[in-house]
Amino acid sequence: MDKLPKWADVALIPLINLILALIVSGLVVALIGQDPFEALAIMVNGAVGSTYGWGYTLFYATNFIFTGLAVAIAFHARLFNIGGEGQAQLGSLGVALVCLMVPWPHWLIALPVAILGGGLFGAAWAAIPAYLQATRGSHIVITTIMFNFIASALLVYLLVSALKAPGMAPESARFVEGSHLPTAREVLGAIGIDFARTPMNVSFIVALLACWGLWLLLWRTRLGYEIRAFGHSDKAAVYAGINPVRITMITMLISGALAGLMAINAVMGEQERLLQDNVLGAGFVGIAVALMGRSHPVGVFIAAVLFGALYQGGAELEFETSIPREMIVVIQALVILFTGALDGMVRSPLEKAFLRFRRQPDKPGVPAE
């Protein structure tokens, strides 16, 4: 018998984690002499209190959905891909190349090619650690994190040399007008809804499709079945005739591609040029998102929106109060810590509490240990 009912596992635990994080953050805010309740109100208002807030929240959430899904699918194969950051950087390179090389007439043509470009580059970046893990046993945690640094260095190199636009800043030229993705303001404006000017764009829809697609893949296809089986027990996978090398490679390629897709939102959708620091740590936030979302696409979506709100709320807090930047990073880190890393801290007392209230007579066929 599972120790916790499903609703507690997917909803209650994250909620308690979040509340704990807020309490501790509140203490931190109080400690530096600010009113935690006002701070919370500003954050909530800033994140979801206006179309402006929602636009930014969902813009950030789109990034986190992609990186969260990337981590989630790897989790299903028990691969800890912490290279989302680097894969997203390479993805942004792919997207930028697509957008820079061709004078796109319309975004509808540019977007599929950019998805391909971002996905391919992200996947390629994940392929090397995946290959090393699958055939040489080099631990993927180590290799993917190393590849983050290499990706960052590579991007810097390109941005000060081949891709650098005239001028002093290390950034590429602006993308052509035809690759501009319609923003929420433009789309909703066309049907008469007034939406604030935010970078939220059609990539959000792509992210939703990616959630659905990943769910389909994991629970409705043979490949997903094999990925999940491999993740639960690699010995069992071999027993079932599942090739571990193949599954490791495919899973990591999909994972890298998903991380790379983040670039269509951040680079193509917002920055519209290649910057050096375009991932904004979303690769790492993706880990927390996947953990909090229990590696399920729906969970990832919800967690991503929550983290998006946290990011946007944090930015508002920065504007509205004199709470220093560093403190806001601390608060965001606390939420990640509580929801991601300290899951067990809440889980085991909660399990005990549930057991206490759920004593039932022995069921036939249920093992006692």
């Binding site: 010995k235 027993y239 069921k363 093992p367």
Partner: protein
């Protein structure tokens, strides 16, 4: 009358909806060997874990030598004089015997004093109880039987006078087991109290003074061993009358299905696991492979099942199998009519976190009938799963339960159902009843025999000699990656098989336990 060494009163323990122990009462008198017997999942291990401080009982009291004692952790248990020898040894592999014995019970920051004190005591203990172990040998160089002795010495070094042994003979040859029981007798004579947890009726009958039977978390009976019979104990365990012997007709072997010639396997770390095995299995025949765990029988199953590469020549129905190339995987083997019930159902045969219905497709998930276009046809799988669950009486009959939520026996039934229902030409089956309760053992044995009777070939690997003897039509003994000999069950006995299992072929002569030990330790290198 002296106070009991251990007395438990009204012990109850629940894990959520599962009541593992229900109002258990037990009295163990000092200087006796007390057996606790029960099916897997009956609550034996939970009870002992409570006594050793791993779990806290929800209700109930523990009395040690008449005094009420709280045991919140294992340190408290050790202080109360309780020692535990686990099924899976808790030894540091690259430490010496002496270092392991002292570990956690050092006198001070410096080891030297404790080590020399331990050396003296160890010498004394080994002489007293026939517990000979080289104090400076590294654990990894010792055989399983030796390691077990180290565990016992560890407990004695901590001044335990109550010793709990959890399934101690699971990894031992019959001769080693006999030796263990002689040690236990010796300890008993010295006034130690011993609790022996086992599911083997024979051991209970041979060694214990009193025996308690557990079923579904309850203590169903405590009787004097001399006053009971195996039949009665089995009934008490299962709650109904059981057949202890497999009822089967003589085999009528047909043409050869599996033919293995000079099969060799080298594992990942370069150790030779199979050193040229040749054997064959015919239609309508069960070939039993017996041997001490770690002598190559697992590798044999794995290489035949397509889980690892090998060298040599293997044919099934006359067609050669690819042992190294692109077609050496388990998927291809299944297409060639080979079904495989793996030794470790939890790590290999099932995905514990998958639903029962998902597990029913495991390994056959690319069958055409489970597909619907690019997607899997989950409805078809569920339909199939429900039919199999009903046919093999898997309980609870709920295909939406995860595999981990079934008992060992029912998990095994799911695996058996999946593999047998494919109507294979050759069935590879490893440890079919390990951790399976008696009721299910009967059923599983019946299924295997039925498959044989349908004219299929069965290769059976088991460490349970009883099982090998009662199921097999022919027995091959494996030792150190070689077949030591083949016997017919009617023409051999446990003693002879036991010696063969230790690599001793001149079975007419007498052999000391130490000789057997040494042979085995040399062959297996280390435990398992």
């Amino acid at each position: 009358m002296t106070a009991p060494a251990i007395e438990l009163k009204g012990i109850s323990k629940s894990f959520g909806p599962v009541q593992a122990n229900k109002d258990i009462a037990i009295r163990v008198m000092p200087g006796t060997i007390h057996g606790i017997i029960g099916e897997n999942g009956a609550g034996k291990s939970t009870l002992m874990s409570i006594l050793y401080g791993f779990y806290k009982a929800d209700t109930g009291e523990i009395f040690i030598r008449g005094e009420r004692t709280e045991i919140p952790d294992s340190q408290a248990a050790i202080r109360a004089g309780i020692g535990m020898v686990f099924q899976h040894f808790k030894l540091v592999q690259n430490f010496t015997v002496l270092e392991n014995i002292v570990l956690g019970a050092e006198d001070g920051a410096l080891l030297k004093g404790s080590l020399s004190k331990a050396r003296t005591l160890l010498k004394q203990l080994s002489e007293e109880y026939e517990l000979h172990v080289d104090p400076d040998a590294k654990i990894e160089d010792l055989g399983v039987g030796m390691q077990q002795r180290v565990e016992i010495l560890k407990a004695l070094y901590r001044r335990a006078d109550i010793l709990i042994l959890d399934e101690p003979t699971g990894v031992l040859t019959p001769a080693e087991a006999d030796h263990l029981f002689r040690i236990l007798e010796g300890l008993k004579r010295e006034g130690k109290t011993i609790i022996l947890i086992t599911h083997k009726l024979r051991e209970i009958m041979e060694t214990t003074d009193t025996v308690s039977v557990m079923r579904r978390g309850e203590m169903t009976a405590t009787v004097k061993t001399a006053e009971t019979t195996p039949q009665e104990l089995a009934e008490l365990m299962v709650g109904r009358e059981v057949l202890l012997r497999v009822d089967k007709q003589a085999a009528t072997p047909g043409e050869t299905v599996l033919n293995v010639e000079n099969l060799q396997v080298v594992d990942g770390s370069g150790v030779e696991r199979l050193r040229g095995i040749s054997l064959n299995v015919k239609r309508g025949e069960i070939l039993g492979i017996c041997g001490v765990a770690g002598n190559g029988q697992s590798e044999l199953l794995e290489v035949l099942g397509g889980m690892r590469p090998g060298k040599g020549r293997v044919t099934v129905n006359g067609q050669e199998l690819d042992l190294t190339g692109a077609e050496s995987d388990a998927r291809t083997r299944r297409r060639r009519g080979i079904a495989h019930v793996p030794e470790d159902r939890q790590e290999e045969g099932l995905i514990m976190d998958f639903f029962a219905w998902e597990n029913v497709a495991f390994g056959y998930h690319d069958d055409a009938r489970y597909q619907r276009g690019a997607m899997m046809n989950n409805d078809a799988i569920r339909e199939d799963a429900e039919a199999k669950i009903a046919k093999f009486d898997v309980r609870p009959a709920n295909c939406w339960l995860k595999a981990k939520n079934f008992s060992g026996g029912n998990q095994q039934k799911i695996v058996i159902a999946r593999e047998l229902e494919r109507n294979p030409d050759l069935l590879l089956v490893g440890q079919p009843t390990r951790g399976v309760d008696i009721g299910a053992i009967e059923f599983i044995h019946e299924q295997i025999v039925a498959l044989r009777d349908a004219g299929k070939a069965v290769l059976l690997v088991s460490v349970e000699l009883d099982e090998i003897l009662s199921l097999s039509d022919r027995i091959a003994v494996i030792f150190d990656g070689r077949i030591m000999g083949e016997r017919l069950p009617s023409e051999t006995d446990e003693r002879e098989l036991g010696l063969l299992m230790a690599g001793i072929t001149d079975t007419d002569k007498d052999h000391s336990v130490d000789e057997i030990e040494e042979n085995l330790a040399h062959a297996t290198g280390k435990a398992g």
